[in-house]
Each structure stands twice: as C-alpha cells, then as structure tokens.
Symmetry: C2
Subunit: 337 residues, 2 copies
Amino acid sequence: MSSGPRLVLVAGTTETATIDGISAAGSAPELMATTPSADAELVIYGGPVRTDVVPVSPTGCPTPAVFTRAIRDLVDFDVTVVDGGLAEPTGAPTVSVGAGAGRDIRNADPVPTAPGAFEAARQFGQRIPEDEIVLAETIPGGTTTALGVLEALGEEGSVSSSLPENPLDKKRRVVSAALEESALEPGGAAGEPVRALRRVGDPVLAGVSGLALGALQSDTAVTFGGGTQLLAAIAVLRHLGVETPLSLATTSFVAQDPDANVQNLAAKLAVDLHVTDPGFEEENHPALDAYVGGEAKEGVGFGGALSLADRAGIPMERVRSRCIEVYDDLVEEVPPA
Amino acid sequence: MSSGPRLVLVAGTTETATIDGISAAGSAPELMATTPSADAELVIYGGPVRTDVVPVSPTGCPTPAVFTRAIRDLVDFDVTVVDGGLAEPTGAPTVSVGAGAGRDIRNADPVPTAPGAFEAARQFGQRIPEDEIVLAETIPGGTTTALGVLEALGEEGSVSSSLPENPLDKKRRVVSAALEESALEPGGAAGEPVRALRRVGDPVLAGVSGLALGALQSDTAVTFGGGTQLLAAIAVLRHLGVETPLSLATTSFVAQDPDANVQNLAAKLAVDLHVTDPGFEEENHPALDAYVGGEAKEGVGFGGALSLADRAGIPMERVRSRCIEVYDDLVEEVPPA
C-alpha cells in the first residue's frame, strides 16, 4: 500500500557529547542537547519550531539537517522521526520506542533503555509499510559512542568526526574509560551487541539497529544513510547474525576522511559503500566551504538524501543551489546560535 | 520558510466513548481506544502500522481516515499528528503537548491535563512555520464531550454523530450527569472555556483550541476541518475573546444532518461555513454508500481534506475513485476489525 523510500531519522542524545572537545554538533556544550530536537524540526518543517536555534558548530558551520531539508525540497520523500532519547522538546512529531537520553559512557550503565528501545524499534521496523527505508541519525557525540560499540564488539575500526581535526585519541581514551567502568575488555561484548549498546553505546544506535533488524525481517529494503555511526549499527546487526548484503550511503566528506577510513570498516562488515559528492568545492559560500574544509561531514541523513537525489537524476548543481537558498533563508530568519 | 497548508490532526481518547450507544467509531467498545492511533497511522502511512486495524463502525462503515489519506494521495499536503491523549501506541509520529487520555465526563475531573495541554498546544501553534493550517480531530465519543463543552459555555447547540440515528437524548443525559458531577449549571463555565474543557470536555478539544489560538496569535491562517467538535473548539475561542472571522470546512454529510444543524451554531459563532460534497451517491460502493446512509459523516480531517482538493481543482470524481481504490486495497490487506 506504500512505495517509499521513507527516511527514518532517529534523534537523541548522550551526555558523552558534553565531554570537552568531543563534538562540534552545537556551538557550545549546553546546546548539544538541543541539536537533535532542532535537526528534526529543520527536516520536518524547514526551520526551528519549539527550539529557537539552527545548530551550528563553534565556528559557524551549519548542521547537515539544512542540506537534508534542502534536498527534500527537490526529491519528495516522507520522513519519520523516532525519539531515540531526546533531551529537549521538539516540534517535530516523533515515534516513541521508549528510549531515554544516554548518559556519559564513562558511567557503568549509561543506556539502560537500550534493550527496550532496540526491541520496540525492531517491532516498529517490522511494521513500516514502505518497501524501502533510509535510516539516519542525529546525536551529538555519536561517533564516540559508535567507537565504544565497535571496540566492545572487537571490530577494529575508526570513526569520523564533526570536527576538522578528529580528536581520535581523546575518543579512544573516553572509550577505554567506558569499557573499564563496565568491566568490559575490547571485544568483550562480541556476539552480545545489545549489551554493547547499553554499556558503551547510545540510545540512537539502539534505535537504528533495532529498526534495521525489524525492517530486514519483514523484507523492507534498508539503506543506511550516514557515516561511521551507521557502520557501528551495521556491526550490531552482524553480531546478531545478519548476513544479508547491506549498503551505506554516505557523503564524500566522510569517505575522504583518512581518520575514519570507512572503506576499511565497510569491507570488513561486507557493506556496499555508495558515496555521493555534492561538489561543494565548486561553490563559494561559507556554509558549503565549511564542509569542504572538513567540518560536520555527515549526519541527519545528509548522505542518504544525497543518494536519493542522485538516484532521482537531480543534478548536484541544483542540490547545491537549493542548499545555499535554504541556508541563506534560515540565517536571515534565525540568527545562528 | 514554509508554505503550507499543513493538516494538524489532534488524536486522542475519552472513556466517554465506551458508554453504550454513544459512538460508532470502532466496531466494539474495547476497540474505541485504538481508533485514533489507527486513524493517525492511516493518514501518515496509508495503512495500519503498530495497530492491526482499519477502524470500522459496528456495521462495517470505514473510518474517514481512509478518505483523508486517499485525498492526500491527490493533493500533496503535510500532516502533523498531535498526541491529544492517545491510549494505545501508534506508529504515527506525534507531537506531545502533555495530554492524557480523558476519563468519562461523568467523573468530577475527567481531563486534568486540559489546561496544560491547551497551553502547550497554544505555544506550539504559535511556532508552526506554515502560513496556513487545517485543524482536525479524531476522538471516539468526541461529539458527546463537544456537547458538554457547548452546554457548559451556555452555547445552545446540537452536535452530529457517527451513527445514522444520532443518540442525542442519550448524549444530553450524559452531559447533564457530567455537569452535575462537576457542580456546573448549563452556561456555568461561560467565559471560562478551559474550565469547561477540563470538567466536561476532552483532551483533543483542549489541543485543537490551544493550537488554533496560538496559530491565530502568530498570524497563521486557520481552517477548522471537521464538524460539530470543531465548532465546540471555536466556541472555546469565542469565550476567550477571539473575534476574528473563523471558517469551518466540513462535509455535506454533516451539513445535511438536521440533528446537528451546524448552520445554526456556525451563524451564532460567526463562522464561515465551507461545505464540500464528494458526491458519494454517484458511486455504487459499500464504503461510500455507508456515508450516503448517514454513517460516520466526518472526522480525521475529511472535510478539511475535501476542501483542499476542491481548492486545488481536483474533480470530485477523481476523489471518489481514489477513495474506492484506497479502501479496496486496505480491506484486501487488512480484514476489517
């Protein structure tokens, strides 16, 4: 009865984001908690509703939600937002899977709602009527918790960053402390991925991997739209025994990030990589330049939306000009936070 | 940054619906609680998701959600569902305004969340970015609680029914008992409409009237899409001192209902009435025939959606054939409950 594809965006929070220097998904640590609520509003309505902000990095780089929304204006796809542990009210309608905000993973049990959210998301994923979904995430600090999950599963790999200089050493130290606090060795949760999500992960990863599992169980095609966080969700599925071929649609900004090395992890997880390059370097605009300079890179379904635009035959030149229009209109109406 | 119109559907419950013979919005009293959750899924996804049902009346007449969805396939409008006190999980994403399920109005304080939900809805309504919204409802038993609010405000009027034989006497007895339990005379809450919502109303009416007030305060055009329940929401606004011209888009089934006499109440409330006749009598199909026979009549934004189709120049013949297609596809996939 439905066609699709539908973008399913899981939006949530982890206090891991407030660790100094971990994330650029907000202009200040205290705004990180608002970023996913605002991102969801941007994608659904085109602007802030209950939140007052357009999330920007400390240097002013806009959230990729702006670009996902811009692409939505060109390619008509439906969006469902799933509450993966939001900490601030959003005007975007959300589906509840019982996820609570994640705590700093250096606590012993930072995501107690992970098993329940995973299962509720799985059941919801089974029931989504579309033939195809694109899964996406927004969670500041999410690459650190993704690294935590990968380490706990014993999947050697790296993660990307919303910062131009990836604070990988800091992330690895946070993950080491997190594993220790949960009495886990690296690889200690191999084959028990829901335990990894609960102990060193975040509620958004629980939602994304549950949704993916449920959708696959009901023969809904799944595209993972994002970067290394989505690869961590795929690792969860692999550790649950899912052997189907899986594909990740990501941006060239993630694909070209030597720190992230997604090619390596994708190959190990048997993931087909679809990279779309929006050609931002061909424009001369501060918002797009920031991405060319390595900021933000991905998130809020940007890579997934780009792949849908590409599939629909929309020239990247049109994508870029719409991205610029949406950004310019927004900053005129809502001064960046 | 947005155009609109956006259909804002407030979905919720009142245990008043379970009073024998009050409502046809479900095939059995125990299914009434599921109807709004299923209606929201139908409008958003085109079929049941977390619920297993396509709501039908005891005689098999389908929910108007089927037709609102059918029209959505022809006229592209966005939909936001607001949780106005849902009692069962829905796969439709919802905006929370803190509304709880309403109890039978023959209790002293059946809707304690009404004041909070009204205010949260008002704030959300102020922030909705579209230039125009169409407000709609789904709540079994809602005409009885609407009658309660009208009586408490001292607005003489009648209400429509989802049953072909409107059990108006029964509704009036329920409302009398409700007013007595809340120590209210008819007209006793004149000028205090939020008190009326709380004492003898329902959480959906609280959400609808709050949303309308907020939208009007921020110069968003509001069309009320529905029948006598939406007129009760307008009465709430009038008792708050709103004097702007307001308009109601409803179906011919409600407009032709002599019991409801919407023309009379609309005139008293200075409401501009837009009636759209989908011409269902020109087809020979059981689902459409049930409406011609006076069942269901309106709800889930049916009248509002019809007015959007009419405004977009869609011939009613196309509307009817799409309604039939959507219904036939649905009953093939999901046997009516």
